[in-house]
Symmetry: C3
Subunit: 201 residues, 3 copies
């Protein structure tokens, strides 16, 4: 099992946990939680692959991703109070998810022959669009419009990965460094409530 594949299954698992935990309010039955976990985990990669015309979709071609989603939802169910008690848990799992998925999305897009600018967008989409679709379905304000730096952290990490490709470092190291940058930016932004400047001056 390659590092990339491990990260992909782990990212799916983390995202499914964060997606299932999100339903604590109005949408709270077993199916609803499983569905939001599923959508959060596979939505971004699905949109990326559809936009790139890359078939079969990852989770359709490899059943392990569906199992990773179900394992994540089950974990969220079994440790519900524990996980939710930790106020920062959701942010942590979500941050792990977006960090891994951004870089994996960039790599996937590059392997399909698109330009770096497009690959950066696809990396960000892979990371955030599952959560955006989940938020749209549950009538929440999509994560990408929330104040703390979120999608922008993914974009910055994606660009770092693309820049480092030009240097003599291993792919695995690049994967780790660029993911770590996204985690750091996001966690620092949450901690210190950092946000981007407004569009209206």
């Amino acid at each position: 099992m390659t590092l990339q594949y491990s990260f992909e299954l782990l990212g799916t698992f983390f995202f499914a946990i964060s997606g299932a935990l999100v339903v604590r309010d109005q949408h709270s039955d077993l199916f609803g939680a499983t569905f939001t976990g599923f959508v959060t985990a596979i939505g971004g990669g699905t949109l990326r692959d559809i936009m790139l015309g890359s078939y079969p979709l990852v989770w359709i071609g490899d059943i392990h991703f569906l199992y990773a989603v179900l394992a994540g939802v089950l974990t969220a169910y079994l440790f519900y109070n524990f996980l939710l008690g930790l106020r920062k848990t959701f942010v942590l799992f979500d941050t792990l998810g977006i960090s891994f998925f951004t870089i994996l999305g960039v790599e996937k897009a590059l392997s399909l022959g698109v330009r770096p600018e497009i690959a950066a967008i696809m990396g960000m989409f892979t990371a955030i669009m599952g959560g955006v679709i989940r938020d749209v379905l549950t009538n929440e304000t999509p994560v990408l419009f929330r104040k703390e730096i979120y999608a922008t952290a993914c974009l910055v990490g994606a660009i770092l990965y693309l820049v480092l490709l030009n240097f003599d470092i291993s792919r695995n190291l690049n994967l780790v460094i660029s993911s770590a940058l996204i985690m750091v930016i996001r966690l620092v932004a949450v901690k210190f409530k950092l946000s981007l400047p407004g569009f209206r001056r």
Copy 2:
């Protein structure tokens, strides 16, 4: 005309009626109702085919589906007060729609060579995603988060169909039995206000 094809056109017709009736509130002009009828009827199959990379989309390759939608919207328009007066009409048309579409979606997915787990999900998506997209567009809480068992009924029917495939019964009989199970589960759930256990214990 095969039984499958009749069911597909009928499901489209029923869904278009239910979709057009839904706009009784704020979104009520002729175009809005036609659009919600259209989206409700073709949204699920469209999403399924895009996810499976199956082209052309059903309604693009066969113009009869567009006519079935328009016939449904026209029926809803002509018999508006009559249909809406029957409080349960919407539920009935919608239930017919999801029952047919689930099994047809499973069959379509299987014919494209995916695993049974994926086919079950695709069957459910075929049935519910048109309504989900409609609800998202009209700012309603998506059907799949409403209390009475809905998407879960589709999943159960899809699984029954997949199980019965291993037995020596005709495809048409299987189609009828599995669709009927979905109808029964859904109507009983609505009648007795049955819902799944909550995710939070």
Copy 3:
């Protein structure tokens, strides 16, 4: 550079401006505005191409569209107060966008061999779906449900284009005439607050 290509880049630029200006309320950081500009400009064509199975997507195959989006967002940023001060600016840019995109969408669909009915729908989708996706993401009532004639103007223009194809006029002239009809219908509808008859009689 053909007239069609100029119109396509111009439409993308106009739509990006209108999409970025829309975020003046709650969703107002630099990333949010860029994202809504991007989605507004490329959402409709993306949905059309995905539905028609036409790859690569326009903006993925030709990087100039991404630059047109960024130019539009930058223009909206630099001339924000000026553009917003002109109360009618948003409507104007949006109208230019939908007019061009409708006809270009019809042409693209026809070139992929679909029937005229489907091409008309695809033209309308190209024009309105970027705005619809933007509105869904920002929790607004989608443009297609607003009172003044909007999507219907696109449909009418698309049908005129399809009809004129049977007459001996040049493609460029047809493009201009049909786009102009959409602009006129839309601007007259906004000016005189015209709307379609309701679905409920």
